[in-house]
């Protein structure tokens, strides 16, 4: 191989890749309009993005999987903990994470800014991003449930409990979140039917409840998880 051949390898390699990349960039701009619902990208969403950047949230939390890995991903945060959950955590992290071994700083974010943040997260949560992250995917987790039932031999209710995000807030046998109460003895207090009602719409039972309504569970899933929990005595 001569130096001239080597030069052509360099030039063609660079140019071909750059042309493909720039063409795809042009097309991406076109398609992102639909994929990210630009029609819903309101001024409040943009204000929320500015707030998100102002407080450097992104150096602890990932969003769309990018940023700091120190705190949960925020892509689907609205679906996961609801608007009230976001308000409480941002407003009073010292209370929200009092029992957690990892803390979140209180950055004195104003109420108006928090509403902007929620608008921003709501918009981000609806971006069509190939069903990521997996833990929030309806599709994959039902497959995960089936696998757990089949291979690990847990009851369907236990599988729902582990895979539907209950453990983000609640613990069983010392494993899980500290945001909500541990549920080791919940069966002593509530029957399966009461658990079903509560999980579907917590505020209908206790108006002060911080728990978001679990509207994403199918009836079968709700029935199984309620049966499972009512047996924790």
């Amino acid at each position: 191989m001569t130096k001239k051949t080597a030069f052509w390898i360099f030039l063609l390699g660079t140019l071909s890749s750059a042309v493909l990349f720039l063409a795809a960039t042009w097309d991406t701009h076109r398609q992102v309009e639909t994929l990210s619902n630009v029609d819903k990208l309101s001024e409040q969403v943009v204000a929320g993005k500015r707030t998100f950047e102002k407080y450097n949230c992104n150096d602890c939390h990932t969003i769309l999987g990018f940023g700091g890995y120190y705190a949960p991903d925020l892509t689907k945060v609205v679906q996961r903990i609801g608007a009230d959950g976001i308000r409480y955590r941002v407003k009073s992290p010292e209370l929200a994470f009092a029992n957690s071994w990892r803390k979140m700083p209180n950055l004195n974010v104003s109420d108006a800014e928090i509403e902007d943040l929620i608008a921003f997260f709501t918009w981000v949560g609806e971006i069509n991003n190939n069903d990521w992250p997996p833990q929030d995917s309806k599709k994959r987790l039902s497959r995960g449930e089936q696998a757990m039932v089949a291979t690990v031999g847990v009851s369907p209710g236990a599988a729902v409990f582990q895979t539907k995000g209950c453990m983000n807030c609640h613990a069983l046998n010392g494993t899980g979140g500290t945001f909500g109460p541990a549920l080791d003895t919940i069966g002593r207090e509530l029957s399966a039917a009461e658990i079903r009602t509560y999980v579907r719409d917590p505020k209908s039972v206790d108006p002060k409840s911080m728990m978001p309504a679990q509207t994403g569970l199918s009836d079968r899933e709700l029935e199984e998880v309620a049966k499972f929990l009512s047996n924790r005595k």
């Binding site: 080597a6 493909l20 991406t28 500015r50 450097n56 999987g65 890995y69």
Partner: protein, 442 residues
């Protein structure tokens, strides 16, 4: 040292080293935040986010200083002329350092652009751009005036111009989060898998040529093929960051295919380094410089090549994206490819700049091996933590903090390895700043 203005490089290197040390101290704080409970009172004042922005910006700052110093060392020898304006070079060093220090203090008080790795506030970005223009003007004028073009010079200048241009994409405010990340990667990915690889290729080719005495002709032929492959795989390979951001689905194909090829140019770099060393025409004068050059090529292959490949395919990346697996890859790749490249340059150039022909490398060897072993362990422990996270959080869906509790032990081991790394680094920095001639063995 053949040209007086090469001395500029020395001060760039001296400025870079303490920043590297500070970066590692902040890294230890970040690690502690994972393994222990940092009380609310401290978190409110000095959050993980603030420390992380310092940790990453220090990395960029010291490495860019190293590259610039490297350029100021290489360009006089390559062009056979003095640097166009040493005064401008020193001015630019001071300007960059002051900007960096102001930025770091600013982060502490919440003055930030708030985008990971690009936290430097926009007004300071302008100072950075002016500094970069001065640098490019100085290097470019030196080359133009001398008019003795070589492939190494061209690659170096091309890489530096490309690097500066890409920085511009990180400055605007993007209304759409998807578009924001799209161009964020033009800075981050096209830097480390594009522009920085060009600079690295040029510097490594220069050092290998000087060390081995292999013909320029041969070295530059390899360099063309390498940078050609780097650009071919690297540019379209940016796609592996576009899988889950709301970009069209065809990025899964473009990103998957091109980034699967990304290890090739690195492998080529390892092979040609080995070949040059085997066919060397000169004696080994300072063995440590050789150790560093080969270590750099090999660790570049492990950290960037193997680790990058390991989670670049969409099917795997779906579960590992945004987990500690990324952290593992980031540490091994940056250390292997760019920290070692800079340290290779320092060990090659600093003795010459001090007029030492053969230096005493006993401390340097201890530093090299301590850092390399410690970083490899850190890569593995971060990796184990990342796999645990991916499995518990993403596959089983058991929640973020549940996964974190299982990862805690591994983060603790990482801190221990980090302390060893710091010890190795302090040894290395001390050694570089107080290089002594080796005692003549009779």
């Amino acid at each position: 040292m053949e040209y007086r203005s090469q001395k500029i490089a020395y001060w760039y290197f001296v400025a870079a080293l303490p920043l590297f040390v500070l970066q590692v101290f902040l890294g230890l704080y970040l690690g502690s935040s994972y393994a222990f409970t940092i009380p609310q009172e401290i978190v409110d004042v000095f959050s993980f986010a603030t420390a992380r922005s310092m940790h990453t910006n220090l990395l960029v700052l010291w490495m860019l200083l190293g590259f610039m110093g490297g350029a100021y060392y290489i360009v006089p020898e390559e062009t056979q002329s003095e640097i166009y304006s040493p005064g401008l070079a020193y001015f630019q060093l001071v300007a960059l350092l002051v900007t960096g220090v102001v930025a770091l203090i600013g982060f502490f008080f919440g003055w930030t652009q708030g985008r990971p790795l690009l936290e430097i506030p926009r007004p300071l970005d302008l100072v950075v751009v002016v500094g970069a223009l001065i640098f490019l003007f100085n290097i470019g004028m030196t080359m133009l005036k001398a008019n003795r073009w070589t492939v190494i010079q061209g690659t170096l200048l091309g890489g530096l111009v490309f690097l500066a241009l890409l920085y511009l994409f990180g400055i605007p405010f993007y209304r759409n989060e998807v578009i924001d990340w799209y161009y964020w990667w033009w800075v981050i990915h096209l830097w480390v898998e594009g522009a920085w690889e060009l600079v690295t290729g040029a510097i490594l080719a220069f050092i290998l040529m000087k060390l081995t005495g292999v013909d320029r002709h041969v070295v530059e032929k390899w360099l063309y093929v390498e940078i050609g492959l780097f650009m071919f795989t690297g540019i379209a390979g940016t796609g592996h960051h576009y899988y889950w951001i709301g970009a069209p689905r065809y990025w899964l194909w473009i990103g998957g295919i091109f980034s699967a090829l990304e290890p090739l140019p690195i492998l080529l770099m390892v092979i040609d380094t080995m070949l040059h060393v085997k066919e060397r025409k000169t004696q080994i004068v300072n063995p440590l410089v050789w150790t560093y050059a080969i270590g750099c090529a090999v660790f570049h292959m492990i950290g960037a090549g193997v680790w990058g490949f390991a989670h670049t395919l969409p099917q795997i990346n779906y579960y590992t994206h945004g987990s500690q697996v990324t952290v593992s890859h980031g540490h091994l790749a940056f250390f292997g490819a760019y920290a070692l490249l800079n340290l290779t340059t320092f060990y090659f150039a600093m003795p010459k700049l001090k007029g030492i022909e053969v230096f005493d490398d006993r401390r340097g060897k201890i530093g090299f091996w301590t850092m390399n072993v410690a970083m490899m362990i850190m890569g593995l422990t971060f990796g184990v933590a990342g796999v645990l996270q991916a499995y518990i959080e993403r596959v089983l869906g058991m929640g973020y903090m549940t996964a974190q509790s299982y990862m805690r032990l591994w983060m603790l081991v990482t801190i221990v390895a980090g302390v060893f790394f710091l010890a190795g680094l302090l040894t290395t920095v001390t050694d570089l700043l107080t290089l002594r001639p080796a005692k003549q063995e009779a």
